[in-house]
Amino acid sequence: MEKALKKYFPVFVLPTAAAFVIGFIVPFIMAVYLSFCSFTTVSDAKFVGIRNYIEAFKDTTFLHSVLFSALFTVVTVILINVLAFTVAMCLTKKIKGTNIFRTIFFMPNLIGGIVLGYVWQLLFNGLLSYVNRTLTYSSVYGFWGLVILLSWQQVGYMMIIYIAGIQNIAGDMLEAAEVDGASGSQRLFKIIIPSVMPSIVICTFLSLTNGFKLFDQNLALTAGEPSRSTEMVALNIYNTFYGSTAAYRGVGQAKAVVFAIALAAIGVIQMKITAGRGDK
């Protein structure tokens, strides 16, 4: 069997490799090329050099959106992971109905971002109308609105990963610790957390990139209001691309390339740091 599979390995890899090339490599190369061009559609681009990049870095709204996204990501990474881990801990205890709770917590993740954005907008605005305000009143409202929305959506997903990690911890190890007289917090910090380090690595990576890439929820919930102060990077790129004439599309493209590279770099650094700890 193994031999047959080895022989046909290219046949198996080819479809996925082709899809990866068509769906990722080619668009990415095109995107990098287009960021040096002025264009209306992708097939009629004119090379203009690094002008787009200069424009992109001169744009103060872009820098603001980067800072806003960074702050947002820091807050959501901590919040989502702490909450997801806590919920996972609770739902791995022998309590009645854990399966139902796991399903319920996971469900928000199945709803699309745009729908969630509009539903939460109605909820927040309904609540804020008691004090005669809306989400657009200040960027602080929009910020926390987005934080609540994203946490609500993602905690369930991360929880599933943590549950898998926690269930993998050998029971005898915990039992031995208990016999040796380890306290609850000692067991948590010395045994459980180090044991689920692989889950932490993957969850941090996912929530980190999700936070930076957030688009649908941002568009639907605040659309950047008031006055572009809750605009995140992805939305800023989108608005640059479509907000002006074709001459500006290259600038949007340049921002997108900068963003993609920066995000990839952050992801790699994060994986290096946390994965290194996981090995210990």
């Binding site: 047959a4 996925t16 559609t41 809306t134 200040s138 479509y242 002006s244």
Partner: protein, 450 residues
């Protein structure tokens, strides 16, 4: 056994490959979605085909029917794809780059030709251009780049029955809707209705001036036309890349009226949608509603109501009893010059049929309720009462407000800047100077950045 393994391996690979190919297959199928398939065309004698990228979601079903009727009659395949609301340029951007690009697409106005003019086939001498009764668009090197196919008007739509009811109240400030002839009389009526809303059984004089993305264009594009129109008219020009903002104060007059004499507190407007305003108007919760002829369709709630237009009075001295509603068009047909010769001819034939055949005329003027600026429509009776109301102002010798302001708005960015400034003003976190800045400084910089 070995063959068995082999077969298994090849089969699995085949399944995987099929999955990928199926993905590609459905994508290419998607680009031509929505219309008749190519098989229908092969049976016909003509070799070209038509692919129309439609701008207006509200008449998508009618276009599909019209396309099917044409295919049935001539055998020429016509595909109509409609871009989702507010995403026309995005859709056009990706569609026009494809091998099977739209043969027929739309532009809103002259400034769209900056982006899309390079795709415009010269329509001079074509049937649609010859029979047009409105101004076609031209650009350098192309005599007729775009031909308008539907005129539209906007202003303040009012519920005639409700306003008459108000007029019948004791001490009403007017005795007939026709007495509203300028901003002062409009304000007097609106303020009085607002003050006596319980007596009249309404929630406010105006529907909520929602500043959500689904509604803000009523103020950032349509109402914004008015101050610019007056400035241009005063200066005797039709376009400019900077504004003095002389009439922004007048824009404020009407905005303030919308914000105060409203169904809700102005601080809540940023969360109000276009549907909210329409529902309030159709449920009789408000008397006035700023929108255009497109708000009326043969099958929506408004069709059962008695509605008419008031001009957008903003307190400019010249407006008194002498202006009509804002009339113009944002609907131009363009033919893609990169299409094959057969397809261009097929598209020209299709358009000729649309504006001259009985089926075409009755669908355009009936089911779509368009006011089509072609001489072939001269005898057509307008289904939409708002057109009748708009025309009545012109028949009474009043000048309609043209769309020169809207047509010279620099970018989408400018509109969202204005929307942001209005939101800040509505919720009290910013003052009016923010709006003034958009009309003066931002207008200039956005033009410079183009």
């Amino acid at each position: 056994m070995r063959t068995c393994k082999k077969v298994f391996a090849v089969l699995s690979a085949a399944v995987l490959t099929a999955g990928v190919l199926a993905g590609c297959g459905s994508e290419s199928g998607g680009s031509g979605a929505g219309g008749s398939d190519a098989a229908g065309g092969a049976a016909g004698s003509a070799s070209g085909s038509v692919y129309y990228l439609n701008y207006k979601p509200e008449v998508d079903a009618q276009w599909q029917e019209l396309a099917a009727a044409y295919t049935e009659e001539t055998g020429v395949p016509v595909t109509v794809v409609t871009a989702a609301s507010g995403t026309y340029e995005q859709t056009l951007t990706s569609e026009i780059a494809k091998t099977e690009a739209p043969t027929l697409f739309q532009v809103e106005n002259q400034s769209w030709l900056d982006n899309w003019g390079q795709y415009c086939y010269d329509l001079s001498g074509s049937f649609i251009a010859e029979h047009s009764t409105a101004n076609t668009l031209s650009m350098e090197g192309v005599e007729v780049a775009a031909v308008p196919f539907a005129m539209e008007s906007y202003g303040i739509i009012y519920n005639v029955d409700l306003l008459n009811e108000y007029c019948a109240l004791e001490n009403a400030v007017i005795s007939s809707p026709s007495e509203i002839i300028d901003f002062a009389s409009l304000k007097a009526v609106a303020d009085d209705i607002q003050a006596r809303k319980v007596e009249l059984g309404v929630e406010g004089a105006f529907t909520s001036a929602g500043l959500d993305g689904s509604s803000n264009w009523r103020f950032t594009t349509h109402l914004a036309n008015v101050p610019i129109y007056w400035e241009y008219t005063k200066k005797g020009i039709t376009t400019a890349t900077s504004l003095d903002g002389t009439y922004v104060e007048n824009y404020k007059n009407l905005i303030d009226l919308y914000f105060t004499d409203s169904t809700c507190d102005s601080a809540l407007l940023s969360g109000k949608t276009g549907d909210d305003a329409l529902a309030e108007f159709c449920d009789g919760m408000a008397v006035f509603y700023q929108n255009g002829t497109w708000a009326w369709t043969a099958d929506n709630d408004m069709s059962a109501m008695n509605v008419a237009f008031l001009p957008l009075y903003t307190g400019v001295p010249e407006e008194k009893d002498s202006i009509g509603v804002c009339t113009g068009t944002g609907n131009f047909w363009c033919i893609n010059k990169n299409s094959t010769e057969e397809d261009i001819q097929a598209t020209l034939d299709f358009l000729e049929w649309v504006i001259s055949s009985e089926t075409g005329i009755s669908t355009m003027s009936g089911a779509m309720a368009f006011n089509c600026p072609f001489d072939t429509f001269a005898d057509v009776e307008l289904a939409n009462p708002l057109f009748t109301s708009a025309n009545s102002y012109e028949e009474a010798g009043k000048t309609h407000i043209s769309w020169i302001g809207t047509e010279s708005l620099p970018t989408e960015n400018w509109k969202s800047n204005l929307s942001s400034a209005l939101i800040e003003y509505s919720q009290g976190t910013g003052d009016w100077s923010g709006v003034e800045k958009v009309f003066t400084e931002d207008f200039k910089t956005e033009w410079e950045n183009r």
